[in-house]
């Protein structure tokens, strides 16, 4: 459909990752008592950022799953409105 969904996904998760990890860096240690002393904001934020970056690279690099070797979708057919 023109828009490669991996780009918005990559964008969303990169932003969420930066927000969470950034907050993890500045937040007070005390709030991590409930998460077993682990700074989950920092670590999970970093993980989401990596995921987001990978999606952007895949989406922007034109790697297209579900397409044949020539980069076309398999036997793409437009739906035609059936008259009755």
């Amino acid at each position: 459909m023109g828009l490669d969904i991996r780009l918005p996904i990559g964008g969303l998760f990169s932003i969420l990752g930066v927000l969470l990890a950034g907050y993890g860096l500045v937040s007070d240690r005390g709030i991590y008592v409930r998460s077993l002393g682990i700074n989950v904001n920092l670590w999970w934020g970093a993980a989401l950022l990596v995921f987001g970056a990978v999606m952007i690279v895949l989406g922007g690099g034109g790697v297209r799953p579900g397409r044949d070797d020539k980069g076309r979708p398999h036997g793409r057919e437009r739906a035609c409105l059936r008259g009755r």
Binding site: L3, L12, V40
Partner: protein, 602 residues
């Protein structure tokens, strides 16, 4: 109760901006009704696959499966490994060639092509009613959850809005957001957002499982803390009395694994629509198979938190349901109840007890309580956003299925045939608006008459149970006739009602739970067993009546059935397809992995 800080609100806001943004980006692409209802049949397989499970991953799924995990243990994973995967493989390998190949635009339309107008009408109308009500139930559940979690209390207080408006706000806000992105981008927008929601749900719940497991000492720790029946999915399944589900292995395999699961995954337009939007036959067939791979691991995401919630040492609950009560409860079964509080009757503020006087646990709070227990501000925002996303994907799935069936199968067929394509595109948008409006009415009805929704869901179950028999015969036996299918469906629904009306489960009172015809011919060990057997009866009745009536009525000429029936349709050629893209091979891999999981959690 729940104190969210600025970071949580920012995370939520970023997500909603993206949701609407995707709709705006896709708006330019919607030119014809096929773009709006079928996403132009141009979506790659992996996107359809993730949307396929995401549309089903509504709130009922996330909250309900964790609740079930807390109540019954790992045996809940039967709903995935027996109750979803085999059917998903079947629909991809065997049924998709007819759905996609016949160029039908909806499941009811396939029924018209294969059978006749009345069979389509029956299916289209019952399906349309079911989807709008399901979407309303989803909406209601979300508004209730937002109330219970109290995370809107503080902002409402700040702006001086009475707390009683939180419910209305939740209903209206969810309706407006779903409405906006579907109106803008149609099915593609719904599908793209479902994929985003899929990743968000994983991102929001994976740390929960991880922290929980770390806390209780891994799977090993859960095994030590909970009774053995909770950590084995098959041990004790041979008899209904020796497993927590109260179901015997035949009822499980036939009722859940065959009738209910195939009836849902193979015939429900809500999920099949996602595969029909694929860009090619091969992509459409791979859609459910790709979906099956994450699906088989979902128990770790949604059932495990429920198990962890009961394995934790009992402590004052983060959310005492209802109002002020924090009671230390006698356990309803051996072992601790962890962080799950007893259910409180909102009218009397008393703990709800069952017929034996034991308190009933509010298992639906398993996931919310786990989130509040482990997540600090920041991650909590992400977790709550994931929860909201799951409600919306469920609602949007219902709404897109509804507007398509309404426009193509009801409006174009019975109300206004032969209009221009622009007119149907317009109608689809109008249907989206009134579909959501009816859902809102249903959500409000639920606040007043809780039993009405229970009753509706029961009626839906009666209507759905026999469906797969009709499709199975229709696709694989060319002699099946339209009269046979129609009468078969009606008798299937009637037998479901009859069976439910004459049976009861242990501990239940007659009425909505069964035996409403006055006498109890059979007493089932659990409600689940009763439901499974209701489905088995419905299916068997539909199957046999369809065969008998078909044999008595005139068959359709074979040349009309090409592309609609297995024996008269050319198999899709797979010679040039790489082995790992072939549906049959993918299907075998999926089934093998599922068998392995069953073996590990035996």
């Amino acid at each position: 109760m729940t104190n969210l800080t600025a970071i949580d609100w920012i995370i939520m806001l970023v997500y909603f901006v993206f949701v609407i943004g995707i709709g705006v980006l896709l708006r330019r692409k919607v030119k014809t009704s096929a773009d709006f209802f079928l996403a132009g049949r141009a979506i790659p397989a992996w996107v359809c696959g993730l949307a396929f499970i995401s549309a089903n991953l509504g709130a009922q799924e996330v909250i309900g499966m964790a609740a079930s995990g807390a109540k019954y243990g790992i045996a809940t994973s039967h709903f995935y490994w027996i109750g979803a995967i085999p059917a998903m493989v079947f629909v991809g390998v065997f049924m998709m060639p007819f759905y996609y190949g016949s160029r039908a635009r909806s499941v009811p339309e396939y029924l018209r092509l294969r059978f006749d107008e009345k069979t389509r009408g029956l299916n289209a109308i019952s399906f349309a009613v079911m989807t709008v009500f399901s979407s309303g139930i989803s909406m209601y559940a979300m508004a209730r959850l937002i109330e219970i979690l109290h995370f809107l209390d503080a902002p409402f207080q700040r702006f001086g809005i009475p707390q009683s408006y939180i419910f209305h706000f939740s209903i209206v806000a969810s309706a407006v957001i779903v409405l906006a992105y579907i109106l803008l981008g149609g099915l593609s927008s719904a599908i793209y957002n479902e994929v985003v929601q899929f990743f968000l749900i994983v991102a929001g719940f994976l740390p929960l499982t991880w922290l929980g497991l770390k806390n209780v000492g891994g799977w090993h720790g859960i095994v030590q803390k909970l009774p053995a029946a909770f950590t084995h999915s098959w041990v004790g399944m041979s008899q209904a009395s020796t497993n927590p589900l109260g179901v015997d292995v035949f009822g499980l395999a036939m009722g859940l694994g065959f009738v209910l699961s195939f009836g849902y995954w193979c015939t429900d337009f809500l999920v099949v629509q996602r595969a029909m939007a694929a860009d090619s036959m091969s992509a459409a067939r791979r859609t459910p198979l790709i979906a099956a791979i994450p699906k088989m691991f979902f128990p770790f995401l949604v059932i495990l938190p429920g198990l962890i919630a009961v394995a934790l040492p009992t402590q004052p609950a983060s959310v005492p349901a209802g109002s002020v009560i924090t009671v230390s409860t006698p356990a309803a079964f051996p072992g601790s109840m962890g962080i799950i509080p007893p259910k409180i009757d909102p009218a009397t503020s008393q703990v709800v007890t069952d017929s034996n006087g034991k308190p009933v646990m509010d298992y639906d709070l398993a996931i919310p309580n786990m989130l509040l227990h482990y997540f600090p501000t920041g991650l909590l925002g992400l977790g709550l956003t994931a929860l909201l996303a799951s409600f919306m994907s469920g609602m949007a799935g219902n709404v897109t299925a509804f507007n398509t069936v309404w426009t193509y199968d009801i409006y174009q067929s019975y109300i206004r045939p032969n209009a221009t394509d622009d007119h149907y595109l317009w109608m689809g948008r109008v249907a989206t608006v009134f579909g959501i409006a009816i859902s809102m009415v249903a959500a409000y009805a639920a606040t007043r008459f809780n039993n009405i929704l229970d009753m509706l869901q029961l009626v839906f179950a009666f209507v759905n149970a026999p469906l797969f028999a009709t499709f199975l015969l229709g696709m694989f036996w060319k002699r099946t006739t339209g009269h046979g299918a129609f009468v078969g469906l009606l008798s299937g629904t009637a037998s479901a009602a009859l069976h439910h009306g004459l049976t009861l489960s242990v501990g239940a009172v007659s009425g909505i739970k069964g035996a409403w015809l006055g006498s109890v011919l059979h007493l089932y060990p659990s409600e689940m067993a009763q439901n499974f057997w209701t489905a088995i009866w419905a299916w068997t009745a539909c199957f046999s009546v369809t065969i008998v009536v078909s044999l008595l009525t005139r068959p359709r000429p074979e040349n009309e059935l090409v592309g609609l029936v297995y024996s008269l349709t050319e198999r899709p050629s797979e010679e040039n397809v790489k082995w790992y893209l072939r549906p049959a091979i993918l299907g075998l891999i999926v089934l093998g992995m599922t068998a392995l999981l069953n073996f590990v959690f035996w």
